[in-house]
């Protein structure tokens, strides 16, 4: 069987499969879907650096392996540094790295491993200009260790260490804007992407491949286990995150901003739409939702302004 070649060519998402069944991700896992798309876009001549995170497990414990590419598991905070070492070694050995047919050096790290403990190594990686792609799969908390808040956890979210009680509220701080920190390094290419929009994600992965230097993609990846959401709603939630402008999709390319989604012409959907399927937000009061909405509005206006001025 298999897909005929003439049909394959017309597919917006490559038919090639390098991420196999039998992996150990939870049902409805956004990250595993993301990893599958990355492999579809880059193929097996890819060397992944994976820090301690959900994907350590998803990829399979020894002697099992669920994906067909080089995989290098490393310590939590080292993704950026290890990728740099791999890229330098490949170059020293004479390999073509990145570009249309080069070896792809890819960092695949969670939000905790990127926004918090791995931020320094990420900064060093971006600053040194390695030819590699860093992908932060953002499920907005430390999920692998049992749902603890990270710098990427949004306001009002329940996690096991922002449980909410008589004295203290849930997560009190807004989501750390890692993408803005990345852009502050004036990288050649940075983008946000979502598992709900795979064509857009793959297009960005391919663009990241072509542009020399470090690229960064922040991938919105729902986690039903940690978000207390139905496992069949992951894609819908990810879509609503974009449509409410909670997680807008945009690109920063050589100093220019471009908003992909949602439309800048009309009002985004209210934030309640994004919150509705997720048990982690169920303790929020009306005024908390308003605080989150205000933040979304502010960030969205800021982004629109940036796209207007530096578009």
């Amino acid at each position: 069987m298999g897909i005929p070649e003439n049909v394959k060519k017309r597919l917006s998402i490559p038919a090639d499969e390098y991420f196999y069944a039998g992996h150990t991700a939870c049902q409805g896992c956004g990250a595993s879907l993301g990893l599958r798309y990355v492999l579809k876009a880059y193929g097996k001549k890819t060397i992944f650096t994976i820090p301690a995170c959900c994907s350590t497990i998803i990829a399979g414990a020894w002697p099992y392996n669920t994906l067909e590419a080089n995989l290098f598991h490393t310590a939590f905070e080292t993704t950026g540094a290890v990728m740099g070492g791999i890229e330098a070694a490949l170059k020293a050995m004479g390999y073509k790295v990145k570009g249309e047919d080069g070896v792809m050096v890819v960092g695949w790290a969670g939000d905790g491993g990127t926004a918090d403990i791995g931020l320094q190594a990420l900064s060093g990686f971006l600053e040194r200009g390695h030819d590699a792609v860093y992908i932060m799969y953002d499920n907005e908390a430390y999920m692998n260790t049992g749902i603890q808040r990270s710098g990427s956890t949004p306001y009002g979210a329940w996690t096991t260490n922002t449980p909410g009680g008589k004295k203290h509220f849930l997560e009190k701080r807004h989501k750390k804007k890692v993408i803005d920190i990345v852009i502050a390094h004036e990288v050649p290419y940075a983008a946000t992407a979502s598992i709900a929009f795979p064509e857009d994600f793959i297009r960005k992965l391919k663009k990241a491949r072509k542009i020399p230097g470090p690229s960064f993609i922040q991938l919105f990846s729902p986690c039903p286990t940690g978000w207390r959401s139905p496992t069949d709603k992951s894609i819908e939630i990810a879509r609503l995150a974009v449509q409410t402008a909670y997680f807008p999709l945009f690109e920063y390319e050589n100093g220019k901003y471009k908003i992909n989604m949602p439309s800048t012409k009309k009002e985004p959907k209210p934030i309640e739409e994004f919150l509705k399927y997720q048990g982690r937000f169920k303790y929020m009061m009306k005024e908390d939702i308003e605080i989150l909405q205000q933040w979304v509005n502010h960030e969205w206006e800021k982004l629109k302004k940036l796209a207007e001025v530096f578009g």
Binding site: W62, N70, T74, G85, A89
Partner: protein
């Protein structure tokens, strides 16, 4: 022809790296090792060394980048000291566990607090359980030679373990001494190219490295690190012999000095060995039967050679620039382990001295001698002694 010149140990380490031709170097500045990457930067900038030099933002990233590069299959090198090595701690285990033959040059220095940039061995000694091999240089020539030897041992397929070479901060790192730079051709012959035989990241043949191992498999992986350490003992002897044949300088795991009829043998490492040998000469002139021994190889621990040495002495006085609190020095623990089940064994007396760059003088060694002689005479003595303490400021 080899070049005879003068240089600091830091420069000697950089020269060793240049001669070994690593393809990737990642380093972060720290006193007293900063000059090593500085000098290497010059070599790279002048095209004298073809290598990718990654200027990382921390030692943690330096060793992480080396891990990535080594896993991709190239020879890698870095240098650090003290807090920098401590910051690498976590990744040192990973490098050994993944069997990556990275070499680190360490300008041995104390650890904070208080802040202190001077010499002792607490930095490398504190990493003795990571699985890394550890060599200690007495002088700048040894620093250069041992780094070359380190690459050769580390990359041996029976070993495949990362290796650190320590040389004392300032006493060696910043002191100019005569050094012979070996011939590049001979070094090329000695080291050869590094071509990993087993696991490395080949873009054409995907593998997984560093994966999760459940309790059913983890212990076996750790055992292979033990086994590799054991294998290294023989490999080191072979490499020392080959080095001597090629370059004419002789190394052994433990170097003995006037031990044959010695009653008291002072054992130490690093540059202190020079002082101790001179002290032994001075004692011999006075008719005191003293000898000295220096550990060039600390990991793998040369237990067999220690037992041999122990057979020659009534008292072994361990002179150590490190401390395990509530126990004593690391050598004291390791010597105890090597000798505990021997029928005949010397008395071990431990001396903690020279911490944080305090100079070790004959006066300090006199203090150690006095306690050692008490032990020899069967009198009561303290097992662990802090030498040269300024009691007036305590």
């Amino acid at each position: 022809m080899p070049i005879r010149t003068v240089m600091k140990a830091n420069e000697a380490a950089a020269w060793a790296a240049k001669l070994a031709k690593p393809k990737v170097i990642a380093a972060f500045p720290i006193t007293p090792s900063t000059l090593v990457p500085e000098k290497i930067s010059e070599f790279v900038a002048n095209g004298e060394l073809e290598a990718e030099f990654i200027k990382v933002e921390s030692e943690h990233s330096a060793i992480s980048a080396c891990v990535g590069a080594s896993a991709a299959g190239v020879r890698t090198f870095t240098a650090t000291a003290s807090q920098g090595l401590a910051l690498m701690h976590e990744v040192l285990f990973i490098a050994a566990g993944m069997r990556l033959p990275i070499v680190i040059a360490v300008g041995n220095r104390s650890l904070s607090a208080p802040i202190n940039i001077w010499n002792d061995w607490q930095d490398t000694i504190s990493e003795r359980d990571t699985g890394w091999l550890q060599f200690y240089a007495e002088n700048n020539q040894e620093a250069l030679d041992l780094i070359l030897i380190a690459f050769k041992v580390a990359e041996n397929e029976k070993v495949l373990l990362p290796t650190m070479v320590g040389f004392d901060a300032f006493i060696l790192t910043h002191t100019v001494e005569p050094v012979e730079i070996p011939d590049q051709e001979l070094v090329d012959e000695f080291l050869g190219e590094y071509n990993p035989k087993y696991a490395y990241l080949d873009p054409e043949k995907p593998i997984t490295q560093g994966t999760l191992a459940f309790p059913a498999h983890y212990m076996e992986a750790r055992y292979t690190v033990w086994e590799a350490n054991e294998n290294a003992k023989k490999v080191i002897d072979e490499v020392f012999a080959e080095f001597e044949k090629k370059f004419g300088r002789k190394y052994s795991k433990i170097e003995e000095y006037r031990t044959d009829d010695a009653e008291i043998v002072f054992v130490t490492m690093g540059s202190l060995a020079g002082t101790v040998k001179e002290y032994v000469d001075y004692l011999r002139e006075k008719g005191i039967k003293a000898g000295a021994a220096k550990l060039t190889v600390y990991r793998p621990f040369p237990a067999e050679e220690v037992r041999e040495l122990a057979g020659k002495a009534k008292v072994i006085a361990l002179l150590e620039k490190n401390i395990t609190f509530s126990i004593g020095g690391a050598l004291f623990q390791d010597f105890s382990r090597a000798l505990i089940n021997q029928k005949e064994k010397p008395i071990l007396v431990d001396f903690i001295l020279g911490l944080g760059g305090r100079d070790v003088t004959f006066k300090d060694l006199d203090e150690a001698l006095e306690i050692s002689r008490k032990a020899l005479a069967g009198e009561e003595f303290e097992e662990v002694n802090w030498i040269g303490l300024r009691k007036e400021i305590l």
